[in-house]
Symmetry: C2
Subunit: 182 residues, 2 copies
Amino acid sequence: MTGFVEETTNLLSRTPALLRTLLIGLPEGWTDTPDTADGWRPRDVVGHLITGEQTDWMVRTRRILEHGTSRPFDRFERFAMLERDAGVPLDELVDRFAQLREANMVALRDLVTDADLDRRGLHPSLGEVTLRELLATWAVHDLDHIGQIYAGLAGSHEADVGPWKAYLGILVRREDPSAVAG
Amino acid sequence: MTGFVEETTNLLSRTPALLRTLLIGLPEGWTDTPDTADGWRPRDVVGHLITGEQTDWMVRTRRILEHGTSRPFDRFERFAMLERDAGVPLDELVDRFAQLREANMVALRDLVTDADLDRRGLHPSLGEVTLRELLATWAVHDLDHIGQIYAGLAGSHEADVGPWKAYLGILVRREDPSAVAG
């Protein structure tokens, strides 16, 4: 039986290589489309993940370990990347993210063991949460946003698939989230 | 300006390394959950991608080049993997897929140039389609199904994220596809 911290770290540690494999050197014809009409391009998603590494996950982990529920988390700046990363090439954003994530994985393994998972912090909107919930959310947040990258990549070639669009859920859901592919 | 075949091959060629990076050695706690209640686990998705490499994409490409619209495509067996792959470990399925995809990329580059893209074939339900549409669909089909793997991975840890679930679209959409994350 793998421990929870080890299992969660296992997934989180894969994301740098994953984003490199998916995005580095990929032609712009694939990477310049948002996941939905008012959504995020892959570069915006990677920027959002950078913000998480800088200001959210490990900062909140330390807040729980140092202050418990006596001092709430700061709010997550969900759109910080739009101004901060303007003009930075996507490949460079992927490398920035990778360096931050790799450093955070070292810090997490140093700071947290499974014995800490029930320790509590205070989320500004959600109220009391556990360190276990924070770490699971970190991992699922990766999955959620990488899924968003996939939707943007797919959307870039929507016009090229012709009548097959009806069979491709990732395309039909960009316009109607409740649509079921045929 | 990158040509269409080159741009499409660029994405398709990334999928073997991507699935290896994401899935090989990942603890079963992450990989045993389907994307939706009656959906597919990651192993089912990889099996479905294997079927595509064996019987769909390159077979249809050759059908277009050899027969045009005079002989329709065979139907795609969407559930072939459920019986065929029972008992095969996920890591082995990923390797099988990778070998098939790599061989198909060699075959595609040998057989097709951008000058062939307007050649037509006959889909048994959709009617006339072009080779360009077939190749774009191959790539977007990868993206669609890898997105499905992400939803299964996320779903495996749904109970662990606690109140954060409301913010994680990849989780709320597993139950209600039209739900918008808070």
